[in-house]
Symmetry: none
Subunit: 121 residues, 2 copies
DNA sequence: ATTGAAAATGACAACCATTTCCATTTTTGC
DNA sequence: GCAAAAATGGAAATGGTTGTCATTTTCAAT
């Protein structure tokens, strides 16, 4: 799992933001990087599992991906244009931990996303 | 836009939380409420436009809907056995609204889920 | 009550992102 | 070098969602 992963990561760097699997496939084709669409999907799944790539969904349900920094953070996403702002977790981090603790859970993690319409839309 | 809307809203009440269009269609069929799947989709779109219904996406991309004004809460889920506890949003509600406001977003919503291992596992 | 335009409905087909299948190629371990 | 395992990619299948369009229902005007 490496030749393809490298190509997909390069494509993600090139686009510099969110891109769908199909868009990434096109980008790679244009750059003479032969790679199958199936492999692009498979590679993206692996990268998401590795937490190297973030995945989220457009309003129409299509999955879009982007490189993920290693620091823990959350996203504020425009439902209309996809503009994304990275947000510090702040209070939510303690809230999640506390809620889990109070109910006797351990190995507590969380997901959180904020969405809305940005000022440009 | 009324006969179908009424039926779909009743189905949403009956399930009492999130449900997909296809699930709602099944619920209506089971209750002798004849309604086409196409009409369920169309009606849900209208209800979402009217802001009578919230829409969000499962991880697999399928759309799920719920009545707006259903008491808003979050879930604490055991990764091992699936046990689920409903959690009051508390801090996260303000955090989401504030984060959106500070970045000039409007119509702000959020998703959040906490997961871990429960005390029985 | 009659009429006719406009809206709503639903069976069916089309769409399209994603997944599955499987034969072929590439890599790995010895 | 060689066999086993992993990776690859084209084609076909999947499945949620949307488009089409003929039919039915609604409802205001006559
Ligand atoms: Zn925007
Ligand atoms: Zn966090
Ligand atoms: Zn458990
Ligand atoms: Zn909340």
């Amino acid at each position: 799992m490496s030749k393809s992963a490298t190509k997909v990561l390069q494509a993600l760097e090139r686009v510099g933001g969110f891109a769908s699997a199909q868009e990434l496939h096109l980008v790679l084709k244009r750059n003479q990087e032969s790679i199958g669409l199936t492999t692009v999907y498979r590679t993206l799944q692996n990268l998401v599992n590795d937490k190297s790539v973030d995945i989220l969904r457009k309003d129409d349900g299509e999955a879009i991906y982007r490189l993920c920094g290693d620091s823990h953070h959350h996203h504020l996403v425009c439902k209309n244009c996809g503009k994304t702002v990275e947000i510090e977790g702040g209070a939510i981090e303690k809230w999640a931990q506390k809620s889990g603790d109070e109910n006797g859970f351990r190995e507590i993690g969380h997901t959180a996303e904020i969405f809305g319409i940005c000022s440009d839309c």
